[in-house]
Symmetry: D2
Subunit: 456 residues, 4 copies
């Protein structure tokens, strides 16, 4: 028995009722639905649609319903389709005719948009916090292990030595951009659609600003037709989530590669690994793998929402009901991934010896030699060519770059000097990169100070 079927001759087909019911997933919005209804009811007093006594009755009953839902004793009913109708029917069951007044001047179209925006506003704040917690974990590891160095990689090949802290802070930067994106999105979330009715507003003298003030919205939607069919804030949130998931997948990839026996740069705590049902010796970085794998479902949710909205005519279409499950799943997925990565990083051990050893390869300092030549006015391309030839020479001889004599070096690099033989210490190499954003310890320490202030 629906609340809308006055004009219908027959009831809804059972399969159809099940297919179209959203209560299984939109019940998650109960809190927001009730907050919105209370604000709406209070405003209806102002609009002289109900009395303040009636508003009190409504408010009291809604709080009671809220408690029942939270205690798990509320009976959700598929026939009532969605969270709005489930709560409204319960209200009417509780307080009768007064409850039947609540829906005055609103439609489920503006109601659901309000609920979703309230929900997303909270979720947005929670995500920002989780991002900050992961940043803090990364920052703390960077600070704790700031004496460690390792090869920086490009193309998964040794490139130049860098401090581990520099590598870890690169991720802190990524997650900072994520937080900024969330902040930007939040301002487009925090707009009140209620009062837009089904699509055209209401003939009742509603005061939308009152509702906005009560619910903490920054502004009112300016066009009722847009307001009931806009889901940009959901897609924008999903886009931000997709980028966060991508960042997590990159961090996970680094961890997985570093945890291999061949790299052995990191050892994850047992608490963040699992074993094999068959192979007794295995300790797998499963949590990192899952963090990487879960990227797929977040991307999928974004594609789902974009597909959903493609080519929809104005205004509200029932397709929009499909905006929730992917969103909720993506929020949960990204939230829990951030929450797993933080302690995984915090509890990980870094194998400083392995890292340092790998960074010792003098070939990593080839650029230093080329740039030394540039400082002696050798054109860079010429310097690059000479050093490249030297690398080839050493490879053929089977000797590392720092095991050749000055004489040999001069055969290929005529302007080489004694000093060149001393360019192959990775720590000095790092410290020579002393410009803003560079790998030098002094720069990294300045970055650590920046983040210490920002994150605490």
């Amino acid at each position: 028995m629906s609340l809308w079927n006055g004009r219908f001759r027959s009831g809804t087909d059972q399969r159809a009722a099940l297919y179209s019911a959203s209560i299984d997933f939109d019940k998650r919005l109960y809190k927001q639905d009730i907050e919105g209804s209370i604000a709406h009811a209070e405003m209806l007093v102002e609009a002289d649609v109900i009395t303040s006594e009636e508003a009190e009755m409504i408010k009291k009953s809604l709080r009671d319903i809220e408690t029942r839902i939270e205690k798990g004793v509320f009976q959700f009913d598929h026939q009532l389709e969605d969270i709005h109708m489930n709560i409204e029917q319960a209200l009417i069951n509780d307080i009768g005719e007064v409850g039947a007044k609540l829906h005055s001047g609103r439609s489920r179209n503006d109601q659901i948009a309000t609920d979703e925006r309230l929900y997303l506003r909270e979720a947005n704040d929670r995500l920002s916090q989780s991002l900050q917690d992961l940043q803090t974990a990364l920052f703390s590891a960077a600070e704790r292990f700031q004496h460690l160095i390792l090869p920086g990689f490009t193309h998964l090949q040794h490139a130049q030595p860098v401090p581990l802290a520099h590598h870890l802070l690169a991720y802190v930067e990524m997650f900072e951009r994520d937080r900024q994106r969330l902040t930007d999105t939040r301002q487009r979330i925090n707009v009140l659609p209620l009062g837009s009715g089904a699509l055209a507003g209401s003939t009742l003298p509603l005061n939308r600003q009152t509702v906005a003030d009560k619910l903490g919205f920054d502004s009112l939607s300016r066009n009722s037709m847009d307001a009931v069919s806009d889901r940009d804030y959901i897609i924008e949130t999903l886009s931000a989530l997709a980028i966060i998931a991508m960042h997590c997948s990159r961090l996970a990839e680094d961890i997985i590669i570093w945890a291999s026996q061949e790299f052995a740069f990191i050892e994850l705590d047992d608490a963040f690994c699992t074993g094999s049902s068959l192979m007794p010796q295995k300790k797998n970085p499963d949590l990192a793998e899952l963090s990487r794998g879960k990227t797929g479902r977040v991307y999928g949710a974004l594609v789902g929402a974009l597909t959903l909205m493609k080519g929809l005519p104005m205004t509200y279409n029932r397709d929009l009901q499909e905006d929730k499950e992917g969103l909720f799943d993506a929020l949960d997925t990204v939230g829990s991934t951030l929450e797993i990565l933080a302690p995984m990083i915090s509890s990980a051990r870094f194998n400083g010896n392995r890292m340092r050893e790998a960074a010792q390869d003098p070939a990593l300092m080839a650029t230093d030699l080329a740039e030394w030549l540039v400082n002696r006015k050798v054109p860079f391309r010429e310097a690059h060519r000479q050093v490249g030839r030297l690398v080839g020479y050493c490879r053929e001889k089977g000797r590392p770059l720092n095991r050749i004599t000055l004489e040999e070096m001069r055969l290929i690099i005529p302007s080489a000097e004694e000093e060149c033989l001393n360019l192959f210490d990775p720590q000095s190499s790092i410290d020579r990169r002393d410009l803003p954003g560079g790998a030098a310890m002094s720069q990294v320490q300045s970055q650590l100070r920046f983040w210490r202030q920002k994150l605490t």
Copy 2:
């Protein structure tokens, strides 16, 4: 307490356990897991790993566990991660040491792949049936309303008149291709991975063919490393589902447009519509809209699976655990959409008068006039240009094509004859298109015969 943690010093972090547990969604595979285990156990007797009495104990206990799961009294435990470990632990709890022998020679890696393939084989068959049911609904409507004609549309503009049956059978064709795709996919699903172990097979003398025979697999996987990391059959299924969903979205779009007040070509039964919480007059084609909207989540699931697999090194990686939820959701979504569309079509009323009226517009027969000229050896391009000018002339005069005199027509089309004035009847126009696949009633009836035989 895990079944794999002999080598671990500490337990799994609680958050990590929750994050990595798959039991909430892979419990759906309980039936397949048990079937697979029973076949495995029976084969272990042959391999002399267990006795036939032990196999009987295992089988009996597994059947008992199956019953408990079906009755909803089985206690699933997140600590046990997945359906395999939940069932194996229950088995050990039941029959002790004998139960502890079941996992001999297998790994969860080959076990889950076996479960998924068994599940998908069934789901594939079910989907084929649902597709056929929808085809039958479309076919029956086509047969029932074969006397109705309407304008065929290109660019959502009137193009040429067609029988409604021709329009409906076009969808039957689409769903037929879908069934073929499922059949093709099925043969790649129905390959046994069990016996591949974690990645390299087993040192125990397992007989894989025995297991395949028992479980109805057509063949054995040929490479154990591939077998445990292959998820092609999932992606291929999702691709097929995405195309089905797309077809459904097109059918839904046609229904939604036809149900508009402006078109009014179709009236959906009340049982497949819903109303508005605000506007008492509304009867909305919600189910069709949902069918269209749900396309998004199916596309999303496909993108999710593709993303998941991108760039994974060999062999099994825990990322693969993420292959299930999107798949299950897409199967459920497409299955229920097909099941809703069938009765929606069956119960719909078509408004023959509106359709016929729209098809009367003589402009729809402009091509017939051009082709009449071609039959008089006027080059088609010239015929097209002359008729185009005639259309322009009529438009300026505000008169339909069939309301001009032969004299007027001849001013623009010199070779026009009396007969040309009789080309504007839509039914005759349809019947002139008498070639295989064409709109002529004779052709459509031949198609109806074809489908009657094929679908029943």
Copy 3:
């Protein structure tokens, strides 16, 4: 002959050279590459790496190369891989050893990121302007046709009458959010990566702030490893483009449906339609269809970029080269779509009679009657139910809502009064929706004033 192959024994395979060359598409960045190089050269003087005379030579030659590229006489070479190497080699060919000094202290990794950011900054500004132009076209049509009313649709069903201007302004709102998103994205684009070297900065005394000032960047990247591997600004741009494309697809859908013979709400100018190669009478809204269809490639480009970045380890990987083609295509696609829609809207004729006629259906005022009852203290649910029954009654009697007597009405709605019979005028109905964002003419005019100020 590459600029980097000092250490290589053999040349690159021809297929490999072709497969990896990006010059075919990254040559589009020539202007930005040259701007960046000039700023870099000027800074190298400050860093004492080159003399100011050398900088002048470099600058002059680069400007000359720029001219040659613009005149189409520059020879691009696949062997030189990309725009950077093509220009650098031409520079060396021109001015010899001095040209070979330009690449001092930089890598293609920070160079390409700089080029892309410069390019995107401009593209971002251009897009904002195109969005504003389309907003202006919509706004002008809204202003010009502000006396027209039509049925507002939900579920593609008549819902309530609205001014055409209200409908058109809904799109202005969507495109306004798009502009805001672009503005937010721009601040994350406008960060200088140059000076990050391959991944760790440089040992040369580069002054990054000087370069930033010359190129108009707001800030310096803070972490060199992040700077060379960050493509967030590309994904974020693609996300914004995807939403714009989605908005265009919705506008296109409305146009296509309105242009159907059944709706006939709009007539597009011949200049924005095309005909049929077969059917002489056809005039198709092809441009709108293409605008809708092109959504796919924009979504695809976003998915491509997200897929690209998934699971990439730090720092630069050659995969990143794949970040450009999809981006360029999406920018071009969305840009040209906006530029087509604006004149299509400006030149369209709206069929006020058809729209008004459709809006006359008294059922569209059913909500007004329900809300009239609410003003008489009838609980809304009860009012909704009574009006719903009245709608059903009228449907059975085959009479519109405004063709029944007060007596009949009272049989179903006991508290109905004479006044109720006068609620069915669509214009009055619109004007009753007089709250912020509502459909009332007064509200719409206030919105028109707002946009007139904002857009001009």
Copy 4:
């Protein structure tokens, strides 16, 4: 000046002409378009629409046009929109009125579908061949290096030793499934749509079977409305391409990881690597990285096509024009990737010593020990637990599994015997996995024989 604008009062807007023209990309179909036209012309003789002399003139002129296109001297014109109109206009320019007869009985709607199917049929065959070439390269490497062993990985952790050939043949399996998918798709491609006209067939007495026979189509489309709006064969091809691209990305990932200094399992030939513009020592696996990265654009093309088709009403809509660029790009991308990977594999050197050394770790044989116990009737779970504890014990003692005494082993594994100490040789471990699909050399050799026969 278009071939269709008889009815139009004004010409097409210049921007609109450019926006809607497809000639820039559909000119790739010139060969198929001409083949199709020749078959059509020949059939028109049979249908008595043209004479055989006229057919000859058409044929001769079309062949001449073909030659001009191939020589690059044909002038394509945007105003003529597409390849069909460009060729038809050239034909008319060449032979006048006779050329104007060619389009009799067909529409661009059925013409483009025919062209695309002809093109895809060829592309499908080419792809199959490229897949086989890559399989052959992998197979040959497997055969050549069949004496090499390495650790098999799960979770990127050492799992169990496997032959390199087994690892390589796993990829041969993947690409074999890809070939099967292409074969299945081909049968749905090879259906003739010509004769479907714009949507409803033709009033001319066309013989569709004649055309099908001439063009080598297996069957005729059965429903003209479906035939002109079906793009399943494109999406299905893109799905198959997406899976191929995914397989390539996995192979690339293995190569990239193996080429790292830490793994050093593989050394790519210089011809398939590139260097750094900054770092003289670098030799990067760029081609493999690009192969991985290009996955994104293929996924994107699939998403683009799916998005395109979502919710399109029947029948042809101009959106469909957007079906080509993504398809062409994906075909080119996957084709060239396969062609690069084959010689990259063929020319790669495998570092047998590094691989063997990594496979020596006795922990990789832990499962062998557990399965040895199973053969002594120790329940597998108990065996797994004991061996797990032994692994933990060894780890704490800092000794490998094969460096403990039988006495120590018996403290944890009571039933251990002398023989257990001999289980730690990787080659023997491999050979113990002697079941179909397993890692044992005998099994691998049987697989090599299978593929030698199949691939040659």
